[in-house]
């Protein structure tokens, strides 16, 4: 799994490439915490190239959402593929996350 980091206006865009599962989610968690420590509080997760997510990945996102909320920031998810969106639906995450079609849209909502 690869993570590409980009600063766009007020937000940090993290583009995930590959699988977000029990092995790789730890890497994402560490990355996220580093960014938060650096003072950021608005994160866009760009899932255009993410083809798989398991509950481990969901947990990281949930943790990220809680943390940024405490800091007065926000997490926005962008460009979920159909299978991933289905997982979010089943997990009930679509109602508690802001989900947009593209990362540009996501940035605009922040």
């Amino acid at each position: 799994m690869k993570i590409k980091e980009d600063k766009k206006g007020q937000a940090i865009v993290l583009a995930i490439e590959g699988r977000l599962d029990s092995i790789t989610s730890g890497t994402l968690e560490k990355k996220f915490l580093t960014i938060i420590d650096a003072g950021e509080k608005n994160i866009v997760f760009d899932f255009t190239s993410m083809d798989y997510i398991s509950s481990a990945g969901l947990r990281v996102l949930l943790m990220a959402a809680k943390k940024t909320a405490k800091l007065g920031g926000k997490v926005v998810l962008a460009a979920l593929c159909d299978n991933v969106k289905e997982v979010f639906d089943i997990a009930g995450f679509t109602s508690i996350f802001t989900i947009t079609g593209s990362s540009e849209e996501a940035i605009r909502t922040l």
Partner: protein, 577 residues
């Protein structure tokens, strides 16, 4: 004479005629009609007569005579009265004897009809009758008309022409009627035979299985069969049925003889086989028992050649026995065609207590078993050549990547092509059992998280090979990921290398996924599920995995067995739009 023929022709086209031919009662209206027609014909006879010395030689008596022979006394008398009265009114020297004998001709014909109980007297009878009638007519003239010296020369002149023409006329009419009667009888016999053949065919076709595919819930099997009966039903039979969850029993046979007896024998045989077949018996034992039953009450002396096979579906092992039937062909996945090993055995119904033998062969996925009767190998073309086994083998070699139905269709089509319009003398039966193997993925992985991805790839290629929908594959992999991550992370606190097995079976419309692991007893289903109604703040982090699994699988079951955790999940295959 032509008038007679025309009249005969017209008469046969009437309803009364068909009724007479069908030996039904002639209705009074029909009787009146007939009397009138023959009466008019009688008058025509008078009018078309030839004057001979003051007397008229004619065929007046013919009408009533025929009317009586064919319609009975009342019709005859009726016609006779019409013709006779007309003659009476004409007067002349012979008016009394002539009128009287016209009526008598009708009566006499009717009496003969009565004597024959309505059956036509036949050509000879009719002709002789007419000759005698005319002789009588002439005699009557001699007796009644006075003076004798006057009538004698007249009679001498006309007696011969009178007798001859009337007799000839009767002969023609009788001949026509006789032929028509015979034709009608032939027609009736033909209908009887056809009716019988229809019954035979109905018996035969109603008892062989005709619903395809017969086992839609068993993707390991592709079965198709066809039975094309010959005109004279030939007694072919086929059958297939599951002995239990893992065994398919099938048979093809050919009864000696034709028609209803053969079809009945075939029905008995088929029923006996199904009744005697049992998972505890081998095919040789089944044939042995069926044979004894058939021999027991076999007055007819008929027998049946029969091939019987039992296929173990999970392994592809085929065990079979043969009772004198054509040895089936096995077409391997790679195109090789060879007959099954020969196994000795006589036809069933010949000899009691006959010991049958069995042989076995191993089927691989993609192999086709082709069973047939000699309606195929002994199919004949117009030149008199038989199709024979070699040609059939070539036809089988042509099969390539086809379904069982396509294979049967191809073999049948090739057989018909060979026959090239020649008559089909025997039933043609073709049964193809295509073994597709059990679609199975069996995977072993070590208790390391990294191995889950490799499993996912194996699942993906299994799915691709079986055309499973992409979303389904994603969800199956996700479920396996969740469950195995749990097992690997928490199932072996002692550490060390352990094995987890995953088995995925494609079983008619669903994927059944079974996992085995020897870790700590743990039932993932007991874990509290995530409450998806809670917002971000309240949501606990745990419980998501099992929540996903429960929602993505249609069925899920846990059990602890021999120190192992066993989890069985089922997901139905839904076709994507």
């Amino acid at each position: 004479m032509s008038v007679i023929m025309v009249l005969a022709y017209v008469l046969t086209r009437t309803r009364a005629y068909t009724d007479i031919m069908a030996r039904k009662e002639i209705t009074p209206n029909q009787q009146i009609g007939m009397a009138l027609i023959f009466g008019v014909f009688s008058i025509y006879g008078t009018l078309s007569g030839i004057d001979v010395m003051g007397a008229i030689a004619n065929i007046r008596d013919l009408g009533p005579a025929i009317a009586g022979l064919v319609g009975g006394p009342w019709v005859g008398i009726g016609a006779g009265l019409i013709g006779g009265l007309h003659r009476y009114t004409l007067g002349g020297v012979t008016y009394i004897p002539c009128s009287v004998s016209t009526v008598l001709a009708g009566l006499a014909g009717g009496l003969i009809y009565h004597w024959r109980k309505g059956e036509f007297v036949g050509i000879t009878g009719a002709v002789v009758f007419m000759a005698l009638m005319e002789a009588f007519h002439m005699g009557l003239n001699l007796v009644i008309v006075k003076p004798f010296s006057v009538i004698l020369p007249i009679i001498k002149e006309i007696y011969l022409p009178m007798i001859l023409t009337n007799t000839a006329g009767m002969g023609i009419f009788a001949f026509i009627i006789h032929n028509l009667i015979r034709e009608r009888e032939t027609q009736r016999t033909k209908e009887l035979i056809e009716g019988e053949l229809r019954v035979a065919r109905e018996i035969q076709m109603s008892i062989v299985p005709k619903i395809f595919p017969p086992f839609p819930e068993r993707p390991e099997l592709d079965v198709f069969a066809v039975l094309e009966p010959a005109k004279e039903v030939g007694g072919d039979l086929y059958d297939f049925f599951l002995l239990d969850d893992d065994h398919l029993c099938f048979t093809v046979g050919d009864v000696s003889g034709k028609g209803v007896p053969a079809s009945l024998y075939m029905a008995v045989t088929k029923t006996l086989i199904k009744a005697k077949a049992d998972i505890k018996l081998g095919p040789d034992e089944i044939l042995y028992r069926v044979n004894n039953e058939l021999c027991e009450d076999n007055d007819s002396g008929m027998f049946v050649t029969e091939f019987l096979g039992i296929l173990t579906i999970s392994t592809g092992e085929l065990v079979f026995s043969n009772g004198g039937h054509n040895i089936p062909y096995l077409r391997r996945q790679n195109g090789e065609v060879a007959p099954l090993p020969k196994v000795p055995g006589v036809a069933l119904g010949v000899m009691e207590d006959f010991e049958y033998f069995c042989a076995s062969v191993q089927l691989e996925a993609g192999d086709s078993l082709v069973l047939y009767t000699d309606g195929v190998t002994e199919a004949m073309n117009p030149a008199g050549e038989l199709l024979r086994e070699e040609r059939l083998e070539n036809i089988l070699r042509e099969l390539n990547g086809k379904t069982a139905q396509e294979e049967v269709g191809h073999i049948l089509h090739s057989t018909r092509q060979f026959m090239n319009g020649a008559n089909q003398a025997d039933d043609i039966t073709i049964l193809v059992i295509k073994y597709l193997g059990q679609k199975l993925l069996a995977y072993r992985l070590k208790n390391r998280l990294a191995e889950i991805e490799a499993l996912a790839l194996a699942v993906e290629s299994f799915a691709a090979a079986n055309n499973l929908p992409e979303q389904m594959v994603f969800q199956v992999n996700l479920c396996l990921d969740e469950l195995l991550t749990n097992t690997i992370s928490y199932g072996f606190p002692q550490g060390g290398e352990h094995e987890i097995t995953v088995e995925i079976v494609l079983q008619g419309g669903a994927l059944v996924i079974t996992t085995h692991d020897g870790g700590l007893a743990f039932n993932p289903l007991e874990r509290a599920e995530a409450d998806t109604s809670q917002g971000i703040e309240e949501r606990p982090v745990g419980g998501l995995g099992i929540h996903l699994v429960r929602n993505m699988m249609d069925e899920i079951e846990y059990r602890r067995e021999s120190g192992q955790n066993v989890l069985v999940m089922k997901k139905l295959i839904k076709k994507n739009n």
